[in-house]
């Protein structure tokens, strides 16, 4: 409630009125005649953006947990490859990784004709598996580093106590280490999910139809430059806001870190 009250003070009302005025001016003076025609395509693109975001975040996080664990507590032969993977992913641009996976692998296909007969071929022909793969690996690389910090930040005393109780290793991991690690890095995860949202438009360069490519299509067909981009920016801001709200709700539900004296 205090949030709402903070919004209602005069200067914020003034800013909101300015913004509403700007929106109305845009609605009246810019060209929006293209919207009805492209709305179905835009909705399909929006669905695909959200779908790709959710799938890659879930898969990427699943991959990030072992990566982080290997670096935090693993033997050198597991920690070193994990570290190498994270360093490479974080050291090269995502666009390059996407193009490398799609066009790089694609350039290998003609050299190995047996690939076309295999069962994977229908999937290798489509663009979205490569998009999902590239985004998943990218998210895993960044989150692996975050989870390493998360695992390292859980108090060793709790793990030792559990061990002293004779808890099996996997149960310790499942009940104590992982949940606390996630709880410690939850704010960072929220920020990184928004960064993943901002990374999704890059897959439009490998022919995946998501909402950014719809705006490019509108620009190509009608040569209208600003309106689709403004609408696109608005859509992304709304989605980012929803993600932030969702993470804040999760953080409120999770019991907060105990303060110790």
């Amino acid at each position: 409630m205090s949030d709402l009250r903070a919004l209602l003070i005069p200067r914020r009302l003034f800013l909101m009125a300015l913004f509403a005025g700007f929106v109305i001016w845009c609605a009246l003076s810019l060209r929006w005649d293209w919207v009805p025609q492209y709305l179905p395509l835009a909705l399909e693109g929006l669905w695909r953006t959200i779908w790709i975001l959710v799938v890659t975040v879930v898969l990427g996080f699943t991959l990030a947990v072992p990566l982080g664990l290997a670096q935090a507590a693993g033997p050198w032969y597991l920690a070193a490859p994990a570290r190498l993977f994270c360093t490479i992913i974080r050291g090269t641009p995502l666009l390059l990784q996407i193009w490398l996976l799609y066009y790089g692998l694609g350039s290998l296909f003609p050299q190995y004709p047996w690939i076309r007969g295999s069962e994977l071929w229908p999937y290798l022909r489509q663009a979205w598996p490569y998009a999902v793969l590239a985004l998943t690996l990218s998210y895993a690389g960044y989150e692996g580093e975050v989870m390493r910090g998360g695992f390292a930040s859980v108090q060793k005393g709790q793990l030792e106590a559990a061990r002293a109780f004779g808890m099996p290793r996997f149960t310790i991991f499942r009940r104590i280490w992982l949940p606390q690690a996630i709880r410690n890095v939850l704010p960072t995860l929220g920020g990184e999910t928004i960064l993943q949202l901002k990374a999704t438009p890059l897959v439009a360069t490998i022919t995946v139809i998501e909402i950014y490519s719809v705006s490019s299509r509108v620009r190509a067909d009608t040569f209208i430059v600003y309106e689709p981009l403004l609408l696109l920016a608005l859509v992304y801001m709304i989605i980012a806001g929803l993600i932030a709200l969702m993470f804040r709700w999760i953080e409120n539900r999770v019991p907060s870190r105990p303060r110790h004296g």
Partner: protein, 253 residues
Amino acid sequence: MTLKTILATATLAALGTGLAAQEVKIGIAAEPYPPFASLDSSGTWVGWEVDVIDAVCKAAELNCVITPVAWDGIIPSLTGGQIDAIMASMSITEERMKTIDFSDPYYNTPTVVVADKSLDLEATPEGLKGKILGVQASTIHQAYAQEYFKDAAEIRIYQTQDEANQDLVAGRIDATQADSIAMADFVATDAGACCEIKGNVADDPAILGLGVGAGVRKGEDALREALNKGIAAILADGTHAEITARYFNASIY
């Protein structure tokens, strides 16, 4: 050196690099499009269109600078002022003429469909039924495919024709629709040896346009007349034919 002087110097430097030139910036696509414009390993642009641009500018006595711009932003770059003309194998169509003006055409090329040699298909909606067709974004081919082949084939849109060719070779798409001259050049290369031209598409001048011309901003009649003069000059005195002979066997005008 206070903050103020640093800021002032920086602004002046930025503006200074840019204060207006009498040059005419001719926009070409930043992606290779052999044999019209491609990048060689020393970083210079070579190709038929590059030579024609040089010849037209010399005949029109303009000081031209070739400026590569991303293809799918090339018209907004023109209308926004980053370039002064477009000579990037852009076809003259009614849709584009609503936004920009064109010079006279300087070459013509029919539209063909290219596919793997082992595939038996024709350049018609029936022939492409159930196939995957790749086209370049913001081209007449995208417009044509979306008008005629939308219900028959799955259409994939690429940022450059080059990438569509690459996916054709890789087998991800069954066919691609593009300019016949560029495609003839492609199937003659080693990489394109897998594929052949399957035939011309049914013509539709409203979508496929009336030849390739130079694009200028609406109202820039002086530049347009100058380019027309240059184009007419190289057609008349044989430079056009001479450049064409360097790259092709037959006239492409």
